[in-house]
Symmetry: C2
Subunit: 210 residues, 2 copies
Amino acid sequence: MPKQVDHEARRQRIADAVCRVAARQGLEGASLRHIAAEAGVSMGQVQHYFTSKDEMLLFAFHTLSARVERRLGATVQALGQPPSTRALLRAVLVAMVPTDDEGRIEAPLWVAFLARAVVEPVLAGPLRSDALVDFGAQQLRSAQEAGEVLRSLDPELEATSLFALADGLMIRTLLDPDQAARALAAIDYRLDRIFDGACSTHAAQAPDRP
Amino acid sequence: MPKQVDHEARRQRIADAVCRVAARQGLEGASLRHIAAEAGVSMGQVQHYFTSKDEMLLFAFHTLSARVERRLGATVQALGQPPSTRALLRAVLVAMVPTDDEGRIEAPLWVAFLARAVVEPVLAGPLRSDALVDFGAQQLRSAQEAGEVLRSLDPELEATSLFALADGLMIRTLLDPDQAARALAAIDYRLDRIFDGACSTHAAQAPDRP
């Protein structure tokens, strides 16, 4: 009987090796030779499974995304049923900031993909996804209908701002882990002003200034 | 008489070459050979001026920072004297989003440095600077004293949020230039809520919800 090879498992093993190498030294260090050695396979095998470096990086990126989604799914499960809109948004935003071991492994990898996507448009597609912003906007619209946030708030612009904020805080915390507490404070501060606060863009509706 | 060599000009020429190469293909493509060719000097000359690749990248990063500061200085000059706090903050935030040719050249370079700084702590220092956040917080404190924004607003957390937001919008716009208008809308929306709006974190002070 011929030896059975689990091709999917081998592709996965190579993708995991890409993630480990990139987290350690960026994609700059992710040469074919390097990745083959990390995965414990030959360079020929890497080339058998991936016809180009970008194809390999794309697969590794999807591996990373799936890992983040699983982790986030578990966090949301732990919130209790049903979670409040605020708790749900907070869980997603906080998961984007590297405050624990997993985050500190995943975030550099995300930045490495980003740097590559900026100069290699074929990789930009998956990073450009609007899924999170659409999810956030939908949550904020429902919260508006439930009277939890003011109608004067713009759900699309708030959601765009919240997720761009989380990306920026991720970068800040990656560059300086001491900023983690401040990053979480900034997320809570923004959510306070959306959920507990009363915001109006019309000065006429404003309460007296102290 | 011996031939005069302008060493500073030559270092600058190499740094400019690093910027051009990185903007085109990321720092992954910035090999010593590549950069020497782009600068029109020998590899030995590059090594004469910079004892390590990181030293060269750091100098190139300072070159980029100085260029951004000059551009920003000119923008602020054009605002009229004295500019309002809101106009000043808006100019700085908008300058961080790649909406024009210069921004589209500088931003990929910034991301390339970021990806390198994440795995090479010696490069993280200059990217970690708090100068912008401190500047923003000081501006917001003055605006509070002048009664232009509510005292319930936290200048430090608002400034942290504003600049993290701008970093996130920069990334979004880099990945998808079609997002530029939305990024500017998000900045104006946030500034509206700081300067024109009335925000209170105490529900008791809130105006009636519509």
